[in-house]
């Protein structure tokens, strides 16, 4: 593994995925290849696919698999991973909660949403609950300011939140 990273970013558990991409992921990447004049342009799409394949985050192995598939230096792919907020370099909960705390949401109580999550989940920001179920982070504007406060659970927007509503949503997450 040629990726250099600080010790604190080392994956905490065993790899969740042996070997490289699944065949269906490879097929998906091959299909996307037709859309772009260069293979490098597939870096973001391939990283999205890799993150899905590797259980919601990108261990070194996943970054190396993307680099190998696109014939790019690992360092280049690694540099891309570190640039974007949606790629994770350490494990996340099965459900990833993102709370918008930017101005429009701050004006309508987003801090109380963060507090409620901490009370409900019993862990701090960006930590995983002991059962592996959830992790939560504050996030920059998610483009849902008219329904503030809001949060994203995995790919779904939850809008016009109240502390009670947050408790219900969290209880419903398996």
């Amino acid at each position: 593994m040629s990726v250099h990273e600080p010790a604190s970013m080392k994956p905490s558990g065993p790899p969740q995925h042996g070997g490289g991409f699944s065949q269906s992921a490879l097929d998906e990447i091959a299909e996307l290849r037709k859309r772009y004049p260069t293979a490098e342009a597939l870096t973001l799409p391939a990283l999205h696919i890799a993150q899905r394949e590797w259980g919601g985050w990108l261990p070194d192995e996943a970054i190396a698999a993307v680099a190998a598939e696109l014939d790019l230096p690992v360092a280049k792919v690694y540099g891309v991973v570190t640039f974007y907020d949606l790629y994770h370099q350490k494990p996340v909960g099965r459900h990833r909660i993102r709370v918008c705390t930017n101005l429009s949401c701050q004006l309508r109580g987003s801090e109380e949403i963060m507090e409620t999550l901490q009370q409900e989940l019993g862990v701090g920001e960006d930590e995983i609950t002991p059962d592996g179920r959830c992790s939560y982070v504050h996030f920059e504007c998610l483009g849902s300011c008219d329904t503030a406060p809001m949060m994203m659970v995995d790919d779904d927007y939850h809008e016009n939140l109240t502390p009670n509503r947050v408790r219900q949503i969290v209880k419903g997450l398996k």
Partner: protein
């Protein structure tokens, strides 16, 4: 004001518009059909004549931008639709994509015809998964219905259109940052010139337009530049405009008005201030726009009037704040945003946004000193104009307006050694 018939949002509340058939029932793809019968240059001229200015923030003439693309069909050219809507307070493009995806596809197709681009990428922010899915479905329909593909509406013009998902980075909304990101790199803005019209995506001439800008185009084709020009304040501020209103108002949302509606009318249109509390301040154009005071309530919300008042229309994201709002705290939050989103390439922006955040936090928590306002302004002066892209300039706008318009509030924090605004619980427990 006379009742304004919605143009861009006419299909909101018509779920059938999500299908090709439903979209066509309401006049959909007539603009593209018309454009395909015109010479590409004539299409550019019509858009130029309409006065349509970019709805993403910069307000540059769309037709002029298209006219910069070199002529001829020998080299590939691209359209990149900027759907990376990330300016805090902005949510209008999400609405356009989620409720009327074909309107955007039609606008993109007309632009591609006008500049002879055979490929269009819709670069959508990674968080907009629902909008991306809706667009993908609409694109599939458009291919199957002969709108896209080898022969656009039977014209022989070949056009491919794809959704490209970002991965969470505000800077990718900057046009050259977006091109870098599309090419699979870190989204760090490029040195200009060369401009994207000459060297854009994959080294080829490229048009980059915002979602709302392109959504206007089919209507200009169908109803003509003169119709478009008749809407708005004057010949430099034309057409319908979406305003995304959030914060302390009764009914936040996306509202469509002729460009140049006054802020007062807009506020009345969304039910007024939340719980009838007094207006204290508002941001007229997203997090990058300097904050205006309540005494500007009658301002016309168009590019030039807002600029004259010392702010900018930007993405027309209007964030409204009532008298319980701590301005230091609000600007501190925006400073945190810009610090997080600075791509790190240019030192003045990378370091300066960090200092702005730290200092504003310090003032907010009652630990500021009397010199702080001057230091803030000095940091701003070192960032402004000294970085490659507009992010640095954007970051200083709110801070400068805080010092200019709300100096007394800064002083109060420093004098009392605490925030004078009790941190109100928003929700009754």
């Amino acid at each position: 004001m006379a009742v304004f018939e919605p143009v861009l949002t006419r299909n909101v509340g018509r779920p059938e518009a999500l299908t090709l058939k439903g979209y066509k029932q309401n006049g959909g793809y007539e603009g593209l059909a018309k454009a395909l019968k015109m010479e590409p240059d004539a299409v550019i001229d019509e858009v130029k004549k309409s006065g349509l200015r970019g709805r993403g923030g910069a307000g540059f003439s769309a037709g002029l931008k298209w006219s910069f693309i070199p002529k001829g069909k020998d080299k590939p050219k691209y359209l990149v639709c900027n759907a990376d809507e990330s300016e805090p307070g902005t949510f209008k493009d999400r609405l356009l994509m989620e409720y009327d995806p074909h309107q955007l596809i039609e606008g993109c197709a007309i632009c591609c015809w006008a500049v002879s681009a055979a490929t269009c990428y819709i670069y959508i922010r990674g968080e907009y998964t629902k909008a991306a899915e809706i667009l993908e479905r609409a694109l599939k329909d458009a291919y199957e219905g002969g709108i896209l593909g080898d022969s656009v509406m039977g014209s022989g013009f070949k056009l491919n259109m794809y959704v490209h998902r970002g991965a969470g980075a505000y800077i990718c909304g900057e046009e050259t940052g977006m091109l870098e990101s599309l090419e699979g790199k870190r989204g760090q803005p490029r040195v200009k010139p060369p401009f994207p019209a000459v060297v854009g995506a994959f080294g080829a001439p490229t048009v980059i337009n915002n979602v709302e800008t392109l959504a206007n185009v089919p209507h200009i084709m169908v109803r003509g530049a003169d119709w478009f020009k008749a809407i708005g304040t004057d010949e430099r501020n034309t057409g319908p405009k979406l305003y995304a209103i959030s914060g302390h108002v009764e009914r936040p949302g996306t509202y469509e008005y002729p460009i140049g509606v006054t802020f007062r009318e807009m506020l009345e249109g969304c039910g007024g201030m939340l719980k009838g509390r007094p207006l204290k301040a508002f941001i007229p154009g997203g997090a990058s726009a300097p904050i205006l005071k309540a005494d500007q309530i009658d301002i016309k919300m168009d590019f030039d009037t807002v600029a004259k008042a010392g702010s900018m229309l930007g993405s027309a994201a209007v964030i409204v704040m009532d008298d319980t709002t701590c301005m230091v705290r609000s600007v501190s939050r925006l400073a945190k945003f810009f610090n997080h989103e600075s791509c790190g390439q240019c030192t003045p922006c990378r370091e300066g946004t960090n200092w702005l955040e730290l200092m504003l936090k310090r003032i907010e928590h009652g630990e500021g000193t009397e010199r702080d306002s001057q230091v803030l302004l000095s940091i701003c002066s070192h960032i402004g104009g000294n970085s490659l892209c507009a992010l640095g300039d954007a970051a200083i706008g709110p801070v400068q307006s805080l010092v200019k318009n709300f100096q007394e509030e800064i002083d109060q924090h420093i004098r009392d050694r605490a925030c004078p605004f009790p941190h109100r619980r928003y929700f009754e427990s």
